[in-house]
Amino acid sequence: MLKLRQGQAAIALVCVVLGFMLAVQFRTAQDIRSSIPFQRIEDLSQRLSQTEKERDVLLKQVYELRQTAGDESATKESENIKMGAGVMAIRGTGLSITIDDSKRLSKPGENPNLYLIHDEDMLKVINELWAAGAEAISINGQRLIATSEVRCAGPTLSVNNTRYSPPYEILVIGEPQTLENSLKMRGGVVETLQFWGIQVSLKKQDAVDVPAYKGAFRFEYAKPVKDGGK
């Protein structure tokens, strides 16, 4: 052991101060490392949730206003247009389809993407349904309208700019038997999906409720043509 012949007391005194500084500095450095990004994340997530709440309230208002406006001038013509545009909730016979990711484990060396649902799979199903005379489709409560997108967004699916994760529930209004056959035909969509273990279940229903499109229509570039569209 090192023999200190002189200045034991002074060094000890100074060491007290040094230890104090060390501890304080250590804590400060830790605070700097942890607090700033965390505060920022918290701040941002709080703002995000607040904005989302505001958006939901506004969407509800839009929806309600549209409903009341619809009651006043409910002619057959405008009703048809509204049903077609998807701004009206509708009910009818149809199918409810549930699609979920494969429960099978991918074998080593195999692409695990094959066992997941992709936008293409969903688009194939939807396309088949439209072709079979579907009158209205919704995915997880999002009504498909003319501008609806169905797109992979990371591991989730973005529909009408809202993201959903599996399982996806598709509600279709149309002739149930035709719809079912269109999906289940040999070499059809369902068969292909089931080959990869993706779980597809079809249920014929007497009353399917397809909700209305809840978003807003915004046309930034499109302008109506006044002179009869010549």
Partner: protein
Amino acid sequence: MVLPLVGLIIGISVGVFFPLTIPVEYAKFMSVALLASLDSVFGGLRAGAEEKFDNTVFITGFFTNALMAAGLVYIGEGLGIDLYYVALLAFGLRIFQNLAIIRRYFLRK
């Protein structure tokens, strides 16, 4: 050698239980001051081992070094010169030199 260690432990425990944090802007100066103090302590240990220890020199050196280092870094910040790194380098070099000398004494007994 026991007394300084006891002092260090007392200081650390006081610092841990003392609810004091340094504002982020001043953390830089504090770190330089801390390095200067570390340097002084190692210098003191070395002097003690060499039997050239002087109480006044040591105590004044400890405080003035720390304060001067922080002050210089502050002035450097005002002038747009990053004296922070200079101080780090200078003190760091000296700490390692002192450590090496202390180690030799330690081995020689």
